[in-house]
Symmetry: C2
Subunit: 156 residues, 2 copies
């Protein structure tokens, strides 16, 4: 589990570095698919990871809108802060936590429950999926995207 | 590990079903990013999963080009056949297999080695990333993409 979080954190860092060479209007421009923009996507994956892992720990979710963070420096800093806050939980993950149950009330009012292992994998897949969208938008603006390869990153 | 493969297989099936309502010229049309097309992407993720998992088992990779399979029926059938061939290996995965070493000769001639657990996660992330690209192209042709959510799929 940890390896896939470490992969996502490294790839996200690589995308923040990639953003350094891109005009801010391109980072903020509305695009087709996903949450509709490059910087908004990076904000969104950091938000969703932080919020789900907070819920698993009985802590409040993050609820601020992207508009409060809509420049590269602020999203980069928010992502770094969130990563440091969730890292201990991810590092302490064990197989025994897989089947712990999270019970919630869905937006429609009905009770729902998830296993903690299900939420952890959902968070992992969520970020990789959105990063795939960045790779298309990167090519649209004529730039080589960050590699999505998990091998050859020194993670193992 | 199995849960993330099961997720990818389910999402891939959902995309094949999604393709049923899309004109074949849209499935084959060249697009920006990734391997450059919808059906080619579905072929590519099936190929890469099959080939890496074959290599881990000491079996030959798949080497045929997309052009040999460039219609929906053929890619769907190839994907189903590959999934059945790799499923026993995925189902039999245990933590002890994580650190087994795969030694190869890279295209440049130098020796490289990977842990089996690294390759397995690489294959998982590879597919999710490419499926993220499909979600953008789906919106470009005005269609709602398959959900990428891992929760609420009955996987847990």
């Amino acid at each position: 589990m940890l390896k896939l979080f470490a992969y996502n954190w490294q790839v996200r860092q690589d995308w923040f570095a990639w953003c350094q060479d891109v005009p801010e209007e391109e980072l903020l421009r509305g695009r087709t698919g996903g949450v509709g923009g490059i910087l908004h996507t990076l904000f969104h994956v950091a938000d969703v990871e932080y919020s789900w892992l907070s819920v698993l720990q009985g802590k409040p979710e993050f609820t601020e809108p992207f508009e409060n963070y809509a420049d590269l420096r602020r999203v980069t800093e928010l992502s770094a802060r969130f990563r440091e806050e969730v890292r201990p939980f991810v590092m302490a993950w064990t197989g025994e936590m897989e089947d712990k149950v999270l019970s919630e009330i869905a937006p429609g009012g009905e009770p729902v429950s998830f296993k903690h292992g299900e939420i952890m994998r959902h968070v992992i897949a969520h970020e990789i999926h959105h990063i795939g969208q960045l790779s298309v938008w990167s090519r649209e603006i004529g730039k080589v995207p960050v590699t999505a390869n998990l091998i050859r990153r020194g993670l193992f």
